[in-house]
Amino acid sequence: MRKITFSEATLEAMREEMRRDDRIFIMGEDIVRQGGIFGQFKGLSEEFGIEKVLDTPITETAIIGAAIGASLAGMRPVADMHFADFMGVSMDEIFNQMAKIRYMFGGQTTVPMVIRAPDGLIRSAAAQHSQSIEAWFNNIPGIKVVTPSNPADAKGLLKAALRSDDPIIYFENKDLFRQIGEVPEDEEYLVPIGKAKIVKEGTDVTIVSYSIMMQKALEAAEILEAEGISVEVIDLITLSPFDEVTVIESVKKTNRLLIAHEAVKIGGLGGEVAAVVAEKALDYLDAPIMRVGAKFTPVPFSPTLEEAYRPKTKEIVDGIKSMFK
């Protein structure tokens, strides 16, 4: 299969879906002339015109608000957040409007929109440009949250999001944008929302992960396999509401669980996954549920500190080894 970057994969998804459905349009900062900081919108303004590919003022509140309003008026907007860190600016629109409109108006309308939110650590971007904040949204009914871990999923998942009638937050890791991988050319290649994927089967322990952390999960699995521990690796893909069944079935088989994400460990999504398992599959557990995530501090700037902050493959490996002691 031909190989393209994660960034190109998202671009392809946008292009195919915008050709297919003329209700889709996109708004954000610096997408017309620059094509997005990560090249993820390159060429879209040329193909679809600046009526459909809009450079907005620096107003995340209005970007999300206008996307909501446009979705109520029959369009299918995509709102680019530039950096996930800026979602705080539009948090009211996200949680009090976007998430609730369909429900609080008794199902009178749908809110078919996608928020694209590049997240994660990237080369000392520091406290306000490096965060992963997906956990907040698990506590907010009415939103679906998804995130791909590789170029193929980036395409298929974005396409699925663009076809969904629910409001969706699509987190895309900034460091993944330049990664290369095989991506199907099939225009009907969709990654289903709501389903986790068993990326690697195993029998001794389950690692649940997503986004860029999947690479460390798989790296850790390889190291552990070499030492005789058989690891099952699950890519969550949909973070909210997440696929409990796949996780629980796996843990029932392996009897051990570690959850890994780049976001801060405490208060992170790993807590929810752990809690679900501790409620629904406790009897199957042969070891403590472990979590690996970033340290409990804002993201520091200096490379040495950023490295100390970042969750590591070794932590996954050590965590799992400790389960067998």
Binding site: I64, G69, E93, Q97
Partner: protein, 319 residues
């Protein structure tokens, strides 16, 4: 202006007033749950503005949204049922007063978040521009709401993209317990239009004809693709901020003086009668029809069932 138009102004205003009085009564008795904000005394604004709109135009409302909803053409039955929390209401009992909406007539929702509607209305206008229709979007907002950052972001966006939207300020001089001049840096909110290079006009918001005409100009301008305007309606909040407000911040006297001098319905009544547009009899007849309609709505609400527990989980996701 035609007799029919005047009759319809009167009917809309009187319907809102009658609706609100019943709501006040049931809310005071605790039969209507939740927070309720009444539109009494401001009827001319919703009636006048919405008379310029069709069902394919949009409005975005506020926490004080019953008047807008009625004026945009919603059914008072389903409104009443919603306010009582019944499953036959517009939102199946999930919304209530602060979240009343009727998407079938382009009423995109009341909003419990002050200033929450600007950007949504701007997005609806953007959608119509992309679709190349000539529908417009109108957003109602209070003097208090004019200080929210969303006001600025939406106006700048609407102005720079020349969107078909009109920003209608209902300056009723109060934001809850706070006189607007103590928290708002300009006397006339219309002045803020300068910051976006768009027109800003001031209108007597208790004169339904003036409201109709001036908002009509701004709406037509928007329809022609010439972009947004701010239309500031000067009015006064007659009732407490919400039903049950002890109103410790002003005297009953003060309020009554303002109301008696300036009740938009009374003012219009004398005008149409003295100018010969409607007879006293015709007015009576409108009143009777409206009262019957509201009575029927109350009955409908009473007779309707509350939602069942299982309905809690409905209407969350589509897929």
């Amino acid at each position: 202006m035609s007799k029919e138009l005047y009759a319809s102004f009167y009917e809309t205003m009187f319907k809102i007033r009658t609706f609100e009085k019943r709501i006040e009564e049931f809310s005071m008795k605790g039969e209507i749950p939740g927070f309720v904000h009444l539109y009494i005394g401001e009827e001319a604004i919703a009636a006048g503005v919405c008379a310029n709109l069709t069902k394919s135009d949009y409005i975005q409302s506020t926490h004080r949204g019953h008047g807008h909803t009625i004026a945009k053409g919603a059914s008072v039955d389903k409104m009443m049922a919603e306010l009582f929390g019944k499953r036959t209401g517009y939102c199946k009992g999930k919304g209530g007063s602060m979240h009343i909406a009727d998407f079938s007539v382009g009423m995109l929702g009341a909003n419990g978040i002050v200033g929450g509607g600007y950007t949504l209305a701007t997005g609806a206008a953007l959608a119509e521009k992309i679709k190349k229709t000539n529908n417009v979007s109108v957003v109602f907002f209070g003097d208090g709401a004019s200080n929210r950052g969303t006001f600025h972001e939406a106006l700048n966006m609407a102005a720079v993209w020349k969107l078909p939207i009109v920003f209608v300020c209902e300056n009723n001089e109060w934001a809850s317990t706070t006189p607007y001049l103590t928290t708002t840096s300009v006397k006339d909110i219309a002045d803020r239009a300068v910051g976006y290079g768009i027109p800003g006009v001031i209108v007597d918001g208790n004169d339904v004809v003036k409201v109709y005409e001036e908002s009509g100009k701004a709406i037509e301008r928007a329809r022609r693709g010439e972009g947004p305007s701010i239309v500031e309606m000067k009015t006064y909040r007659i009732k407490g901020h919400f039903v049950g407000d002890p109103e410790m911040y002003r005297t009953e006297e003060e309020v009554q003086k303002r109301f008696e001098a300036n009740d938009p319905i009374k003012r219009f009544e004398s005008k149409v009668i003295s100018e010969g547009f409607l007879s006293e009899n015709e007015i009576k007849k409108i009143q009777e029809t409206v009262i019957n309609e509201i009575d029927a709505a109350v009955q409908f609400a009473f007779d309707s069932p509350f939602p069942a527990e299982y309905e809690l989980y409905e209407d969350l996701y589509v897929d």
